[in-house]
Symmetry: C2
């Protein structure tokens, strides 16, 4: 109350007394947008996240291939919300929900009460009943995942440089990416690109251009959620970079030496020391917890099936948004787990709360599809905006512009833009660090 | 031979036949300078390092306090030596030395032959017979150390923000730095500064300005290797930032809850959740290995006592330089383990080899002391250049200029300078990431 100006009106006093507590779980695109959109709504906002930063996931693959540093795509939540007086950030993991008492419990035992709860805890990798594969084929969901993948890719070339046995050297120079969605396409394209254009001058014994990058996809085409002509375009662009794509191919096993695949009746063993998982996601376990505690319905990937206004059936005070939500327009396909959906849902949630405060009715949520884009390499991408389909350089330039604009929104400084452009265009050589080996954490004894 | 121009002269052919193999172990200031200085000498250079990058250690404390990102102070060795045709980089750890066969063995079993060996493997933290302290008080020697310390510092404030118990909250907001040398002074100054000037706007429940930073030093004054007036100046500047210094205080115990100290007969327990070790270094174990294999003499911190030309007694083909060497001018004090000494020794080693190739005599190594400087905070530092002693802003500006010039030398781009200035002046908010928690490396199940 110290910060209040002296002329507090009766009105404002009343508002303070009745201030609603909105608790948001998750600081990704959905949760952070909800928090920011509530900036001018007369509620108390508490944003809870396990990590102290918002991660710009669409560029995470660039950290994994050594083009960007983690700090260039991660923004501390406290800094983002610093000037928003009605927002508090709490670092913590939600361990329980009590919908009847309207409280959350976080990992330090603290009980957090809410009037409205917004769950935006996102998704994680889905290894489809093979949790052991995570050791051989890490996914790309966190900063740690990205630096670990970077470590493995760079270390593979380093080991190949030292390796005398030709067969082993080939296995070190073979990279398998599993999953032909946007992440898989971007990752395989980037790996081929650094091998071909960047690393070749660094090594003396190996020809990094000879590295093999194999993209394995279970379905018939890459980027299944895009129009077929763009899938075709992506495949052609990847081919130019030297990536070999294997459609209709299922992975039946992964170990430290390679991948077992099955295409129709054909079994194949790919000897590869570096394997990356980009084959699917499942919802954060908070979805299941909500099902148990509030009778919410979940789909097979653990997402919470929500009402047209993003609330949970029978619990209008609980909203589920972003990748954790299964939302369909009029019984259609659920919306995809992309940043745009999360951001629009976050804005919608804030508006819904503002409407309720004024006792006004709200329209159901409607997703406005602005389009989709995926990069394949430098100056190579595919984009779909409504009925317009673009490939190659134009798509890439659009992709670059949109992503840069978004990033700048976070720091609002021209210098950041320049810095980022520079890093991107020069491949930020400094980011090619092999870090995080466990034995390096303690001094050598 | 493919890259050779067609007009290979008889002369050049002869040179190729007799090319000496110089193997350098360690890509720090000493080893990397030796490698670079050998660029125009007609030898084959192999640089072996456990890490794939050169680390600019003088700025590592800024990574630990979230002002710089690792990639801003680390430079991939392959990139640094890319254009130097006579240099090969090998990622690996030396596990044995055979001086009679003139070979090294690296961890993958590869045998590396040498004609001249330059050992520049550096130093690591010395916990003085308390290896268990490393868990409670990490040192600051590697990128991983720095991100771990950053994680601990930021997490301490986050936990304090959530903590309801006042006593515990105080322990989370107490930071102890052990060791009053340059690293300890820089770290404690930076921690006090971020608590006072940077983080205070980010938190809602705690007053980060109330954080206590305690610098414990066993000797009578800080920066013992500097002139007394600069020690006094450093202490005053730290005091202004709110750091409490405890001279003549020995650490007798460290655990997860704090530090036990002893000053004269007075025992004191400091309750602190975050403790950092900056109290001393010891040489890389390769020093002891060399003693066992080649009869080299080592001092009590494991450094190899070298001849006036940096060679090992009885082994003119083995040079030891940098922090691994104990070198004294005319029986004086051994040279300190600072970047300048390492760099000058690296240059000297290259010249010695060039002289030997031409059968010319070499003068003994002579260290030219250009001065010493340590920062305390932004616009606060101490510097000694010959007989000139400077403190405060002037010292800081000098420090900044010299370090930036050095960093630019690596990438030779104005943009890097600007980027770095910008990051430094805005405290690069993005670098304040809490990363590397082990449980985050695998997806949440």
């Amino acid at each position: 109350m110290i910060d209040q100006p002296e002329d507090i009106s009766q009105m404002q006093h009343l508002k303070t007394m009745t201030k609603q507590r909105v608790v948001i779980v998750g600081g990704g695109f959905a949760g952070l947008n909800a928090a920011k959109s509530l900036g001018h709504v007369n509620v108390e906002v508490t944003l809870i996240d396990r990590r102290n930063f918002h991660l710009f996931q669409p560029l995470l693959y660039q950290v994994a291939t050594g083009s960007l540093s983690p700090a260039q795509i991660a923004f501390p939540l406290r800094v983002v919300l610093r000037r928003q007086k009605n927002a508090t950030v709490l670092l913590g993991e939600v361990v329980d929900i009590d919908p009847s008492a309207r409280t959350l419990k976080i990992d330090n035992g603290e009980i957090v009460p809410y009037d409205t709860l917004i769950l935006a805890a996102g998704a994680t990798d889905n290894f489809f009943n093979h949790p052991e594969w995570v050791h051989f084929a890490p996914g790309l969901k966190s900063v740690e995942n990205a630096t670990e993948i970077r470590r493995r890719i760079l270390l593979a070339f380093e080991t190949a440089e030292r390796e005398m046995d030709e067969k082993l050297r080939k296995a070190w120079m073979t990279f398998v990416v599993i999953g032909g969605g946007a992440t898989g396409v971007e990752l395989s394209g980037s790996i081929a690109e650094i091998a071909r254009d960047i690393l070749h001058r660094d090594f003396r014994r190996i020809q990094t251009k000879e590295a093999e990058v194999i993209l394995v996809e279970g379905g018939g085409r890459l980027l299944a959620s895009y129009p077929p002509d763009l899938s075709e375009s992506a495949e052609q662009q990847l081919k130019k970079l030297g990536v070999r794509t294997r459609p209709l191919t299922m992975v039946t096993g992964i170990d430290s030496e390679g991948v077992d695949t099955k295409r129709g009746d054909t079994l194949e063993r790919i000897q590869a020391k570096t394997v990356i998982w980009a084959a699917g996601v499942k919802a954060n376990p908070l979805g299941k917890l909500l099902a148990a505690r509030a009778g919410a319905q979940t789909d097979k990937s653990g997402r919470v099936v929500v009402e047209p206004d993003c609330t949970v059936k029978g619990h209008p005070e609980i909203l589920v948004i972003g990748d954790l939500a299964n939302f369909s327009h009029d019984g259609g396909q659920p919306l995809p787990g992309v940043a745009q959906v999360g951001m629009q849902m976050g804005n919608y949630a804030a508006k819904l709360i503002a409407h309720r405060l004024r006792n006004e009715p709200s329209k159901p949520f409607h997703y406005w599809d602005k389009g989709n884009m995926a990069t394949i390499g430098r100056a190579a991408a595919v984009a779909q905006i409504g009925k317009v389909h673009v490939g190659g350089f134009v798509a890439w330039a659009m992709w670059l512009f949109i992503h840069l604009m978004y990033l700048v929104g976070f720091q609002n400084r021209l210098v950041v833009l320049l810095q980022w452009c520079y890093s991107y265009l020069t491949f930020n050589r400094g980011a090619r660090l092999i870090t995080g080996e466990k034995e390096q954490l303690t001094p050598v004894t």
